[in-house]
Subunit: 461 residues, 2 copies
């Protein structure tokens, strides 16, 4: 019976039993408790975030703010006495918004101003703005079915909301964001003169949300902007009442020549295999309004904090641990690409990379991109995270900035925080420091530190 | 082997296999998905909360606001065409704050104003305020060790912070709140002339948090107030520099004669056993500043929403389902007691009672107070909640208002939301509508509806 029980146990808990020894549990759980206790009682990330958001402020790639953010985070890691702190050159796109945009709806005798923001990467409107009748669509399929005859000379209004029934709001976002990214070119191929997109948020409010868009090769280049969700609801209602409703918008954005910038890297040297790396990171750039508090100031300070916690708790890593602030996630991903290229050219073997780029909210788990064996190994650590509310170790992706490391087979992990509020603030002027909870932020940094510790101690194979 | 496997399976998953049939899973998961989809796409609780917080506003027991809240929630349930909506008489304590409090620290030549709030139930200071030297303590033990000689004529300053390392901030609160509840009498027994308490919050800020206190029988009655955590830090620092530091405070609160008020109840009649009840509730009263948005406007509108969702989805309950707005949780619990007394006298058998009184944050689970068999039955439904992020079905308590139902053996369930932000706002002027996330609130109401559905369908035995 004993043997049967054992084989059943292996059948039931198989990989767990194989990859994580019960005998390690006590020591690991004690150390991880220390990580969380220290983060919650003597955490540093919240004050760093205060400075990064309120003293540095917005930091779009190529801006003076981005340059200040590079200096600030480098100085923080130097002050924390990381073994090595350095910058990595990155050439980044340099898009600027220019003067504030304006937009209004004209319906019959009504002229109603609406909150608007140019999309990142868009061109300006011609002098005197763009005004035209509006065609509302919910999908590219619907747009194409209308055909050039009905679209030509019009402004296409992309009004598919984020699906509110998805528990993970990133899934809702993923189901709608093509309208922002590709809507303008889909519209211009059919002769549209402009594109207006419903803001990518789960809320109904008066705040426009920007974000990147791309022009498809060969499609005519037309200006694109986002209006607030309340404005989108209004425009849709007015169009039903009066199909001749027009919208006017003017914007002054432009793309300047690429600008020199940097990734910022701080490290603790590994004591056994220093040429092997485990990294935690976030992206240092943000959109140009608000303060980039959740997106992604939080991920940056959590990454520094994760390494700082391990250092201050006296942990001596086998592998080299890094905090990496990637530049230019929002409109180019040049930092993530440059980081992976550099790692390859310097033969830096990256065992694992963690990214936090889903806001500084209560952490619920980690998404893992890895082989099934690697995934099973990491999942076997789940019970070390459960006391801290991280019950979702497994499903989900890594992160945009660490994606390029996949080319060298690095295990990618994305911190998964509670996503309910993320799109309230995403790419908008209200993504400010006061929207971040100190404790929620600290729990995320601690979770990343705990994951780095386990990855370092047990490896990924 | 087949038999062995089965017995092992029973060994491993025992109670689950016994109490929840796999064959029910599909239908239940489909219905629960409908509950969540409806809550997130056509939820009504957020707009009710807007009215309750912004049109009704604060609603301390006995106040005009409390009376308006009774009328408002009764009208909401009537408009939703609940089968029966009625009020239940409750006589409640009637404490009023009076004019705004003042406090300042005098240390050497410095006179520094500090944010202060009288504690609920406290007496006023004598005319001209109370001013005295300050004795700081972290515990009642420390206070008693000082003895009457060192305490007499002083103001005792209770400055034990909430423990930041507890993941569940209610545990931190539970470890500190005796200072607020009993500190004044503990101090007055030793001859103190006043009690100043560090605000019960996990944050460092300038916002005083009120809350109830009680005078111990026989102890001299002295005034008690809370100062903000930043003020508490400052006072502690100044006391170290100068032990002769004094504090002055004045407050005008008083306890008026008990006032007539009401619990508000709405119900869907049971189709099979209408004299058996399953109830969801929150408390309608709030403290007298802020808007009582998280505490406990959220719990009230979630409870109405839970019943409304089941009704609008066409669910025909076996037992009678009720939404109950209890009056006077904050300073007396008269509503909860009156409800249980009425249930007993009318022979209303209450199978289960759910309470939401931990804020309108993302729900993580339910705490259960029940027999082991009942608990196991409810825990066996866990996988129906896991897709919605509720992974913690089991540990935790019920709720203050439903506590008195324990006398008739009712199963008590407390909704457990994420607690990280709760004490940022608790009993304070910043507990306002804008602090509540629509989606987080809606998830809580949906979770309560799903639990009511399962309790009704399968019973508790």
């Amino acid at each position: 019976m004993k043997k049967t029980l054992l084989s059943i146990a292996l059948l039931t808990f198989g990989t767990t039993a194989v990859t994580y020894a019960q005998s390690d549990y006590q020591a690991d759980s004690i150390f991880i408790r220390k990580i969380f206790d220290t983060a919650l009682s003597d955490g540093k990330s919240y004050e760093w975030l205060r400075d990064l958001t309120q003293k540095v402020g917005p930091r779009l790639s190529g801006s003076a703010g981005a340059a200040k953010a590079v200096t600030y985070t480098r100085d923080v890691m130097a002050a924390e006495k990381f073994d090595n702190v350095f910058l990595q050159n990155v050439l980044v796109p340099h898009w600027v918004r220019g003067s504030k945009e304006k937009a209004y709806i004209i319906s019959g005798k009504q002229k109603i101003n609406v909150p608007v923001a140019a999309l990142g990467g868009s061109v300006a409107t011609p002098k005197g703005g763009t005004k035209a009748k509006v065609i509302e669509v919910k999908s590219f399929q619907e747009l194409r079915a209308l055909g050039a005859e009905k679209v030509k000379g019009k402004i296409v209004f992309f009004n598919r909301p984020l699906d509110p029934t998805k528990l993970n709001t990133f899934v809702s976002y993923g189901g709608a964001v093509e309208q922002r990214g590709s809507g303008a070119s889909e519209a211009s191929k059919l002769g549209a003169v402009g594109a207006i997109v419903r803001s990518m948020t789960t809320r109904l409010d008066d705040i426009p949300h920007t974000g990147s868009m791309r022009y498809a090769s060969g499609a005519p280049i037309i200006p694109a902007a986002a209006i607030s969700t309340n404005a989108a609801e209004l425009l849709s209602k007015l169009l039903k009442e009066n199909p001749d409703t027009e919208i006017y918008f003017e914007q002054y954005c432009e793309t300047l020549p690429d600008a020199p910038s940097h990734n910022v890297i701080g490290e603790l040297k590994g004591s056994q295999t220093p040429a092997q790396y485990i990294v935690a990171g976030g992206h240092l750039d943000s959109w140009d309004f608000g303060q980039g508090a959740h997106d992604d100031g939080s991920g940056c300070v959590q990454s520094i904090e994760a390494v700082r916690l391990l250092k201050d708790l006296g942990y001596k890593p086998k592998n080299t641990l890094r905090a990496v602030m990637y530049m230019n996630e929002e409109n180019g991903l040049k930092g993530g690409v440059a980081y992976a290229d550099s790692a390859k050219s310097k033969n830096e073997k990256h065992l694992a990379a963690i990214e936090s780029d889903r806001g500084g909210f209560t952490p619920l788990g980690f998404g893992i991109v890895a082989t099934p064996t690697q995934k099973a190994k990491i999942v076997s650590w789940s019970k070390l995270f459960a006391p801290y509310g991280l019950h979702e170790i497994g499903p989900g992706g890594g992160g945009a900035d660490i994606g390029p490391l996949a080319q060298q087979g690095t295990v990618l992990l994305g911190l998964i925080p509670d996503s309910q509020r993320y799109f309230d603030y995403h790419h908008a002027a209200n993504d400010t420091f006061d929207k971040v909870s100190k404790r929620e932020l600290e729990l995320g940094g601690a979770a990343m530190a705990a994951m780095m510790y386990l990855l370092d101690k047990y490896g990924v194979e």
